[in-house]
């Protein structure tokens, strides 16, 4: 996963400060400044700072926006812990 330091338009290939195999990655949708996009396919745990920051609730392809629409938190989830549920 990478973070966009400026807004990246869909279809462009930004400079990526990362491993060699992702240098030519094309983002498939607009990535607003400060938002994340996938460098590799993501399925399951989402890692940033070397730690788990959440779980992808569907497979995310390289170049896709990674955010609240496809990643869920594992903490403070009262919706998953309703009494009697």
């Amino acid at each position: 996963m990478a973070t966009a330091l400026a807004t990246i338009p869909a279809g462009s290939c930004p400079y990526i400060d990362g491993p060699a195999e992702v240098k030519d990655l094309k983002v498939v949708e607009d990535i607003p400044m400060g938002h994340k996009f996938a460098l590799r396919p993501i399925d399951g745990e989402v890692i940033k700072y070397g730690e788990v920051i959440g779980v992808a609730d569907r497979p995310i392809a390289p170049g896709e926006h990674v955010h609240v629409h496809n990643v869920k938190s594992r903490r403070g989830r009262g919706d998953l812990h309703k009494e009697g549920a």
């Binding site: 700072y49 730690e51 609240v68 938190s73 594992r74 903490r75």
Partner: protein, 385 residues
């Protein structure tokens, strides 16, 4: 490393020399307001607490009020009480006076009503103010500084650049025997295993983990996902997806040094070193908790741009978000740029320490310049009764 501050009778050093007008109860707020309107400059400390609360909350409010009065930046205090409230106003005034600074207690019911109380408060306040105006700053060492830490309206830049830069500066301060306090217990969710490892002992670690799990339990029992409450809509707009991501970025501002203790809300830090304060992330409550802990300056990192300061403590706003730096110049004191290939953290930390010493020696922060520093908040846990 040195700064110029106001020496207090208890040996502490203020970075400001405020006359505080301190309310002991919501019912005395209007008298405080009337006094502060006539006695300028003064720091107005009003709040919705002080009565009809659970005994633990009354104790916590009492301690917070005492320690706001004892904050080194407070030079003198007019304490304003109604007279029948749960908070013991005499205890508040006496405990502040024990630190050696001038204190006057004004009680509305005992003085025949608010008009008389306001008149007495104005008279006492003006006298104290003329005393404060005679005091001069003296040069003092960095070991006399306790810095508060806070991030607000965070975004992706906060965790990646701003907070780690502040963390470098805090490591340096701790190594120089200064002190620092961070809090925002909600922003330990997902990062408590990292922060916990830095605790000096099992007791501090256990209390930190217990506080974190308490706040998560309080959120979970509402039966909803806490996202939108934390992280906030602004955090999400700024690119933060989950509380875990926000937390992992937030803890970076505390640096890497050992955590010497856990402070209950309203308590003073007992000495130099790094402390964690039991507090939520919301601005008025944590800034007031940091002030009660005895911090003389607060470093506040912001992503999307948070304007507020605090009536007693200068709040230095730093950001690495170029858009916030450009559009919110009224609110940002320092901008961290990050050029590729450079050790941007070290350069930013050095610039921050320079600004911190200037601010502690009297340079106004943006929040002070724009007078966006009028509100306090006290973090209570129980119901209003």
């Amino acid at each position: 490393m040195e700064f110029w501050g106001f020496p207090r009778p208890d040996g502490k050093i203020g970075t400001r020399n405020h006359l505080a007008v301190l309310s002991t109860v919501v019912c005395a707020n209007e008298a405080c307001l009337a006094i502060a309107n006539e006695v300028k400059p003064s720091a107005l400390l009003i709040h919705p607490h002080g009565c009809c609360q659970t005994p633990p909350d009354t104790r916590r409010v009492t301690e917070t009020l005492i320690n706001l009065g004892r904050n080194p930046n407070t030079g003198a205090v007019v304490v304003v009480s109604l007279g029948c409230e749960s908070v013991n106003a005499g205890e508040v005034a006496e405990a502040i006076a024990a630190s050696g600074k001038p204190v006057e207690l004004v009680e509305i019911q005992a003085l025949g009503g608010s008009r008389n109380a306001v008149a007495k408060g104005i008279e006492a306040g003006r006298k104290m103010l003329s005393g404060l105006e005679q005091q001069k700053r003296v040069r003092t060492g960095i070991e006399n500084l306790l810095v508060g830490l806070k991030c607000g309206s965070s975004d992706a830049f906060s965790g990646l650049i701003t907070n780690p830069t502040v963390g470098r500066a805090i490591d340096r301060l701790i190594d120089l025997k200064a002190g620092a306090v961070f809090g925002e217990i909600t922003e330990k969710l997902g990062a408590e295993h990292i922060v916990g490892k830095r605790a000096c002992c099992q007791q501090v670690r256990d209390r930190l983990l217990q506080a974190t799990s308490y706040i998560e339990h309080e959120a979970v029992k509402m039966g909803m996902d806490m996202r939108e409450g934390q992280p906030t809509p602004g955090n999400i707009k700024g690119g933060l997806t989950t509380i875990e991501e926000k937390s992992l970025g937030a803890i970076a501002k505390s640096g890497s040094r050992e955590i010497a203790g856990f402070l209950e809300y309203g308590q003073q830090a007992p000495g130099p070193g790094l402390y964690v304060l039991d507090s939520p992330g919301r601005e008025p409550e944590i800034l007031t908790g940091l002030a009660a802990a005895g911090t003389q300056a607060i470093i506040f990192t912001t992503g999307m741009g948070a304007p507020q300061g605090h009536p007693l403590v200068p709040v230095i706003k730093v950001t690495a978000n170029p858009r916030t730096h450009e559009y919110l110049q009224n609110h940002v004191d320092l901008f961290f740029t990050f050029e590729q290939g450079q050790d941007g953290f070290a350069a930013g930390a050095a610039a921050l320490l320079d600004l911190l010493l200037e601010a502690c020696s009297g340079k106004l922060t943006k929040a002070e310049e724009h007078d966006y520093a009028k509100f306090i908040g006290i973090y209570t846990k129980g119901p209003v009764l």
